[in-house]
Symmetry: C2
Subunit: 203 residues, 2 copies
DNA sequence: GTCTATAGCCAGATAGAC
DNA sequence: GTCTATCTGGCTATAGAC
């Protein structure tokens, strides 16, 4: 990769700061409640300057999603590098990271109904490629874990994949945290248990 | 209860129509995307007339929540009237109703972050009483099912209660329906399985 | 590229006649 | 209570100077 000029490095650092703010605000308030004014204030620049970097509010959200998907892929690759870990172990640890990220207030959440937002996302090649890459990697682990008998074969891989994705916006995490009675680690363990072991007693 | 005058009956029918529209629109688009203009158009009256019946958009949402909680309580009571049903059976069937209602596009969904909405809800005695009543009834079944060994005792009743409530906004239902490949009944069964049996294989 | 100032729009809520 | 017409505020996005 070519070396970046000083100007380009400054640009990149600034955009990183913007996306980081967007990420936090999306996690905290959601897409609709987040305003571009807030983002600008949080970054410490004028709103008009934001629009020099990103074309729209939707583009800001897309950048935040790309960021979190890149992190997810890093976590996936870190798990894949553990020789002693089974496919089931890898899925559990990636899901644990998802819950921890949500609990830390760093998991952006977007409304799935918003059509202009959907449009921006599917036009974003980086976003689409990352979703496909992450789904592909998780899908391979799912099939493998079903074959070795650690994941149930009663559900299609698709259902299992969606169920794991859904942990990124599981409201149970927020309810338990709002109660203030339990440690983050305890909350993550409980939600992981409901997800993997279910609510019915295991004999 | 005193007989209602004709005028009062007309009023009640109209308000029922309003709340029904709100319920459907909340299920379809969510609170933020739903506009009061849409509600008025859907009911077939002027927006100003809506505000004679309900003080604010938040009050409309609260009325829809009261309506769905009343229905939930009816379902709970229908289950409680089945002498042969175990506590676990009752919980499963109430959860099934929740998923079916969501799948039918009749489960209103509210953003849990919105503070003015939260304020309106907790000021609404009917809403608060219904939430408490539903939680109480489900809580009793949960404790009973844990005692008879059909529900896991590894999780606090609170965690199980929240996990069941969360089925009302489980995004997996919408993902699977959007795929268009599966019947509603199949989707409900799969999500019930993930919830009660978990993703890990049962030996 | 950064800023201040503002355009343009939309949605919640209300005024006032009937 | 219902309507039409309007107010009001907040938000996205942009113009234009520096």
């Amino acid at each position: 990769m070519a070396r970046l000029s000083f100007r380009e490095q400054v640009l990149r650092v600034r955009e990183d700061a913007i996306v980081q703010s967007v990420n936090r605000l999306l996690a905290e308030k959601g897409f609709d409640a987040m305003t571009v004014d807030e983002v600008a204030a949080d970054v410490g620049i004028a709103k008009a300057s934001l629009y020099k970097h990103f074309a729209s509010k939707e583009a800001l959200a897309a950048a935040a999603m790309v960021r979190v998907l890149e992190r997810a892929l890093q976590v996936i690759e870190a798990q894949a590098a553990r020789p002693s870990a089974s496919a089931f172990d890898c899925l559990r640890e990636v899901t644990r990271w998802t819950l921890q990220t949500q609990l830390a207030g760093e998991m952006p959440s977007l409304p799935s109904q918003n059509s202009s937002l959907r449009g921006t996302l599917i036009e974003d090649k980086a976003y689409v490629n990352l979703v496909m890459e992450v789904s592909e990697r998780l899908g391979q682990w799912i099939v493998q874990a079903q074959q070795d008998g650690s994941l149930t074969s009663q559900l299609p891989p698709e259902v299992i994949l969606y169920t794991l994705y859904a942990r990124a916006c599981d409201p149970v995490v927020g309810f338990l945290k709002a109660g203030g009675q339990h440690s983050d680690e305890q909350i993550v363990d409980w939600v992981l248990t409901t997800c993997l072991d279910g609510l019915a007693a295991r004999t």
